[in-house]
């Protein structure tokens, strides 16, 4: 019977010599299960036996029964073995102790499993508590049940204030109602929701931008929602900084463009002022002589000059206005081109550049007219620089709408074009072939970034003998 017991059993005499043992005893002690220990001394078989166990055996020999629910020893091979044991005296006659019986159960496997589970649970708990991502479990009604520290930090409530007390809906601004419905539908159909960017109202009343991802789980037949919540505050601040930098770069390049045009613009304003003065003088002159025949002509000349000066000032004011984060609008390309040309006209005239304009009056795009106007001004200014030293001086601006998806604006000039080895460099920031002080090297790189933000492309076409820059923008149907 003893041989088949699942637990190890050994019977010892008063000298701690083996009287009997089963195979499980050998197994429990990590020994070869064919070994026969009968007649051998326990302390010779296990010379490293702990002092403490020797004492347990001595107490048992003195009549005591002792037990341990969990004990551990190291085998000669360095393996840890977990045991449950009972040590009790035995006697052939009542009141006599002839030796002891030790029952030992090897519980190593159970113990290792238990320890592994405990470790995993503590790891999960750590992950939950210390995760930098907010984690939260809620009921289908949105009542928060378990929140980790990161989530509490995001919403500004303590765990005690949040769990079992606050609901998702209490902290969700009403403006997200429609989007919430979309996410709930997603959760119903796919058992997941997100990535969903929204805001929570913090305890202090401020709104915190977050990104949510989540999934459905079931606990005892009840559905719950696990959510992962990321705080987007830092990301948003970084994005705002980048946007700020971008707008500053645009503004700087715009001012550089204005610098290039300044002399021409002064000329363009001072000419009409001269005209106004001279015609006013002529008018006074004639009226003093009682001559009324030229009055109309003089007044018209004055008003024409005022219109002309007004146009350039208006154009300049529009151009230099800082572009803000305004919503995009639909823009007619023709007036956009006209305004850019009006700004560059003084330079065109100064250098005797012949301008051909060929713009589809129906071409429309979506975006920011100030920014796109700047792209055209940059391209036109570059074209003037490219042609002004040449014998033939012309610039051709055209805009076509393919009626399918793209509006193409071409700015071509009679200059020699860009050498092939530089063609890929011209869009790089700070690249310039102009003389020191004449160009910032930002015009084309900023122009390209503007066009790309409008969902388009700005490229150089090397296939013509002249310079040709190509702006492609998504068209807007009329």
């Amino acid at each position: 019977m003893m041989k088949t017991l699942p637990l190890g059993v050994a019977v010892f005499d008063r000298d701690m010599r083996y009287v009997a043992h089963n195979r499980a005893w050998l197994v429990a002690h990590g020994r070869d299960d064919t070994e026969d220990l009968v007649g051998k001394s326990h302390y010779e078989v296990f010379p490293g036996i702990r002092e403490e166990w020797r004492r347990v055996n001595e107490r048992a020999l003195a009549g005591a029964t002792e037990r341990s629910e969990l004990d551990v020893f190291e085998t000669p091979h360095g393996k840890l073995v977990y045991l449950r044991w009972v040590v009790a005296p035995w006697g052939a006659e009542p009141g006599r102790v002839d030796g002891i019986i030790i029952y030992a159960e090897n519980v190593t496997e159970q113990e290792v499993t238990r320890r592994r589970l405990a470790e995993r649970e503590s790891l999960i708990r750590d992950l939950f508590e210390k995760s930098p991502v907010g984690l939260n479990l809620c009921t289908m009604d949105g009542l928060w049940l378990e929140s980790n520290q990161a989530f509490c930090d995001i919403i500004g409530y303590t765990q005690a204030e949040a769990d079992g007390a606050l609901t998702y809906w209490q902290l969700t601004p009403r403006k997200y109602d429609a989007q919430e419905q979309v996410q709930l539908e997603k959760l119903r159909t796919t058992r997941r929701y997100g990535p969903y960017e929204k805001e929570f109202a913090r305890k202090d009343g401020t709104l915190v931008p977050v990104r949510l991802n989540g999934f459905l789980v079931e606990r005892e037949g009840q559905p719950y929602i696990w959510s992962l919540i990321e705080d987007l505050t830092a990301q948003r601040a970084l994005e705002a900084d980048l946007e700020d930098e971008r707008l500053k770069a645009i503004q700087a390049s715009k001012l550089a463009a204005v610098g290039a045009m300044a002399a021409g613009i002064a000329h363009e304003v001072n000419n009409p002022l001269s005209i106004i003065d001279a015609y006013a003088f002529a008018l006074e002159d004639a009226l003093a002589r009682g001559d009324h025949t030229k009055t109309d002509e003089n007044i018209r000349a004055i008003r024409d000059a005022v219109t002309r000066a007004g146009k350039i000032v208006h154009g300049l004011r529009r151009f230099t206005r800082e572009s803000m984060n305004e919503p995009p609008e639909e823009i007619d390309v023709a007036p956009l081109v006209d305004e850019a040309i009006a700004l560059c006209n003084p330079r065109l005239r100064e250098h005797g550049v012949e301008l051909r304009v060929d713009v589809d009056p129906n071409a429309r795009v979506r975006g920011h007219s100030i920014e796109l106007g700047q792209v055209l001004v940059n391209l036109l200014n570059n074209a003037v620089d490219a042609v002004r030293e040449g014998d033939k001086r012309w610039i051709h601006v055209s805009a076509t709408d393919d009626r399918v998806g793209v509006v193409t604006i071409l700015v071509e000039d009679s200059g020699p074009g860009i050498p092939p080895e530089l063609a890929s460099d011209v869009f790089r920031a700070f690249f310039t072939t102009k003389k020191v002080g004449e160009g910032t090297g930002l015009g084309l790189s900023i122009s390209r970034s503007i066009v790309e933000r409008h969902g388009g492309t700005l490229t150089y076409d090397p296939t013509t003998p002249h310079a040709r820059f190509v702006v492609r923008l998504p068209r807007v149907g009329s």
């Binding site: 002022l273 003088f281 030229k294």
Partner: protein
Amino acid sequence: MSAAVVYIDDEVALCRVFEMVLGTRGIPVVTFTDATAAVAYLNAHDAIVVFCDFRMPTMNGLEVLARLSRPVPFYLISGDLSASTAASTPGVTGTLAKPFPAEQLIELVERYTTTT
């Protein structure tokens, strides 16, 4: 043909108005919007005084001056500061900065017409 005041400016309205203003004062005036034509004229005719715009498409005011084969009182007119450095160029009598009062040009003209 007697000498005239010559006004050169690609701005046609200014040519017109100075023709009118000087003409009503009985001062002979010839205007050009094209610098090349003005150079050809000046090399073939006497002029009382020349007023020439600095910034013009085909050539600037100093290039006009350089092409003249004989000396003549020569005033550069400009709408920006680029003429101020040109003022010290030999042959430039003076400068007028746009916008200038019409009286200023008339006074200068009268200085030459009354001494002639």
